[in-house]
């Protein structure tokens, strides 16, 4: 495991704690991710998956610890880092077209005063093509389906041409065919040595999709290559000890009736 991280880690998190109202939501997270991997963040609702991504992206105050990307501070390499927020985090009735949104991915590189040029438009169109949305470029975002919204966000992230991507539930509300196509796209990106970190909900598809997994429930349960990390015992620890069968875990999560460890973990703190 250590050997795989001999070169600069894509992400290194050290002693990270995040608290809201002094209640820890992430507790003492330590992990390293190698470059060029497709990584899944797995954990029950409220486990702190979104919070972990937001903390790394500098969107939340940290109670302690730090995160480094390619051994550097986020502020020094912002243009190499991309972020796909949860789809529900924005108002899709906003008066903007699909192309307007994808062009936002170019803003970081443009800086103040500069407007998107033809090259930026071309790059944006190319990213739309990659997610199969080129014919929707001039569509209003209010008229998109959930899956199309998600692909628009993905295209925006691609337009950043970053080296590491954080994606919060990119498969939420996406149909099976689109999910396959997106995974294919993410695979190709990791082949080009990009690192892609994805919050994921469907346990069944984890071994098939991800090279690495991060199992999270307030604390870090495990982080490593899927084959050796995505084990029955780690899953039980992540989702609570009651379940014995992997498929049960998957089914329960779909019905959202799963108890999460958050309550008991908080009491223990």
């Amino acid at each position: 495991m250590e050997k795989e991280i001999s070169i600069t880690p894509a992400l290194e998190i050290h002693d990270l704690t995040v608290a809201f109202d002094r209640k820890p939501v992430l507790w003492n997270i330590d992990l390293k991710l190698p470059q060029g991997k497709l990584v899944g963040i797995i954990g029950p609702n409220g486990a702190g998956k979104s919070t972990l991504i937001k903390a790394v992206m500098g969107l939340l105050p940290l109670s302690s610890g730090f995160a480094k990307l390619f051994d550097q501070d986020l502020n020094d390499i912002r243009t190499r880092v991309s972020y796909v927020p949860q789809r529900e985090s924005v108002d899709w009735d906003f008066p903007a077209s699909v192309l307007d949104v994808v062009l936002m991915g170019r803003y970081g590189k443009l800086g103040l005063f500069n407007r998107p040029r033809k090259a930026d438009r071309d790059a944006a169109m190319d990213c739309l093509k990659q997610v199969g949305m080129e014919q929707y470029a001039h569509r209003q975002i209010s008229q998109l389906s959930g899956g199309q919204q998600q692909r628009t966000f993905l295209a925006r992230a691609l337009a950043q041409q970053a080296d590491i991507y954080f994606m919060d539930e990119p498969f939420a509300g996406v149909d099976a065919a689109t999910e396959k196509a997106i995974i294919e796209l993410l695979r190709n990106m990791t082949q080009a040595n990009k690192t892609v970190i994805v919050v994921h909900h469907d346990l069944q598809s984890v071994p098939q999709y991800f090279d690495w997994v991060i199992l999270l429930n307030t604390r870090l349960i495990a982080c490593g290559p899927t084959a050796s990390t995505f084990t029955q015992s780690n899953l039980q620890e992540t989702y609570g000890g009651k379940l014995t069968l992997l498929s049960d875990v998957g089914d329960l999560i779909k019905r959202e009736s799963f108890p999460n460890r958050e309550g008991s973990a908080k009491q223990a703190l």
């Binding site: 972020y83 008066p95 936002m104």
Partner: protein
Amino acid sequence: MNDIYIITTASLVASSCALLGCFLILRKMAMVGDAISHAVLPGIVIAFLISGSRDSITMLIGAGLIGILTTFLIEFFHKKAKLQTDASIGVTFTWLFAVGVVLISLFAGKVDLDQDCVLYGEIAYVPIDILIINNESFGPRALYIMSAILFAIILFIYIGYKELFLTTFDPAYASAIGISTSLWHYLLMSAVSLTTVASFESVGAILVVALLIAPAATAYLLTDNFKLMLVIACLAGIAASVTGYYVAVWLDSSIAGSIAMMAGVIFTFTLIFSPSHGLISKRLKATIG
């Protein structure tokens, strides 16, 4: 000539407010505009007491500072004291407005300001307050001030278009790519404060509030394109100014009040008849399927 002066001034105010209003309503901050337009009152009074004149520059600075303070206090109560946004807005602006009212009555003798004038403005006096340099008359002073404000706002939006657009649509993503959401938030709020103060003398606080929201809301119902929304909002504001003026003349009533009323009438009309978002077209679409 006087009606041209009045209509032009009102249209300049309306356009400035409409442009800023588009950002406010998309940021779901319509009430913040309302709050700032009231909260600048103590700033105006204090600036007046310090400078001893209604000199516009001092007033603009005083009010600009109070506007930023208002924004800061609202954020502070919301984030640090965990008050709901609407509650923190409510507390902040009523308190600051009250301070302004007390200051005015305290210094009533020294201050050539009164509540009525601040609330309702007196746009009818615009043609009387003439800019005079070297004994030469250059036309109404308000015309110059409001032109400068509108120009500044257009410049601000032109330069910061990307940043304003992105921080309005998706603040988390904006921060993630290194665009400061709070910087643009405060810049926008400063622009709202400046516009409010510059406008209050001529049109009063109430009309400013109406013009900040109604034309932008009208435009929101008419288009799905943000740039077009900015243009339509200005046109709606100008239409309200022109029609409002003639309604006031016709009914012999308050000009500012009539303009605000017409802004509301135009909005209601759009709400019912808008081809894309109107009540009628929605009803038709629902029945036809």
